[in-house]
Symmetry: C2
Subunit: 189 residues, 2 copies
């Protein structure tokens, strides 16, 4: 089994990295670990862009004009224990609540579709220096019943799962999926 990083290297990496990239980088690292150890196959989807202009020279095509598109699905998708997994990573500096403006209506609809078809969809929310796994069903239900613009931090603590950072993987979200779907397949780590 390969360790994705020793703690030492890892912390150094955090302190030098662009703060906004940290959460994404931690999740990519977890996904690499899951893939290398044959635990799960989960990838970040490419950033959706609209290509306006492409030029080609002798060697290759170069995109010379393009723009970022609003994503209508979530950033990470893949497969774990035969189940379809799709989730997004969100970060907020707000300490008292998670503003729902962080998720688009299209993304909420997509989560709903995934869950209705038997998949597992959730958010990993970084708030108050902790990482929380918040199930898509909870988020959808909160939005539809509460008519509020943000989820209070106390709800996230109560209904979400704090993601353990003591394992080999810093954001070991697969362990939470095990809790949700029941049983544990990977005793190995």
């Amino acid at each position: 089994m390969r360790y994705p990083n020793s703690n030492k290297t890892f912390h150094k990496k955090i302190s030098h990295a662009n703060r906004g990239m940290v959460l994404e980088e931690l999740i990519n690292e977890a996904n690499r670990f899951y893939l290398e150890n044959n635990i799960a196959v989960i990838y970040k989807k490419p950033t959706p862009i609209g290509i306006v202009e492409v030029k080609s020279n002798d060697k290759r095509k170069i995109i010379t004009k393009a723009f970022f598109k609003e994503p209508s699905t979530l950033d990470y998708s893949g497969i774990y224990r035969g189940k379809y997994i799709e989730f997004d990573a969100k970060e907020t500096k707000c300490k008292t609540s998670f503003p729902l403006a962080n998720i688009s209506k299209n993304q909420i609809n997509h989560m709903k579709n995934v869950i209705n078809h038997g998949g597992i969809s959730f958010l990993i929310i970084k708030i108050n220096d902790g990482f929380y796994f918040v199930d898509g069903s909870y988020i959808i239900n909160f939005i539809e019943s509460k008519k509020r613009k943000s989820i209070p931090f106390s709800n996230i603590e109560e209904y979400g799962y704090k993601i353990d950072r003591r394992n080999l993987v810093q954001i070991d979200y697969i362990k939470i999926i095990d809790k949700i779907i029941g049983g544990i397949k990977n005793e190995v780590y």
Copy 2:
């Protein structure tokens, strides 16, 4: 139930379209049909690109330099009857065989991973004016046992599934998945 297109409009559309886009467009159309009728949630992933330069004006960010990256996964992924689905669409003008140069080694490895974790992975191959659903396990097994550079058309006819074009959806690949996993959930169309 919404019909994605009347046959008339549909054929008109084909004759005007860029020939290379036809297969992709047909699959996108099937996916829209599946989504609108709550049959499956399957999306084309964004094209993977490497962004080199971004400029921003008052209104938005514009990508001014980027290049296309080699995909290491397949183009389409999603969920059907709780199962993870991932596939790619390939087209060949060769009438006698399907050249394996159309799939990268990374893509083959990825197919293998998806299948090992309980997902369904396949190619939709357009060859000799027909559309064939060829299961990933068959392709992997062919590559590993035969050491050949292409799959003969006769093998595709024998071991693949010809995709019926008589239904409401022109490339109704979900019907083939029903055959493979057994049982039929959607009696509606």
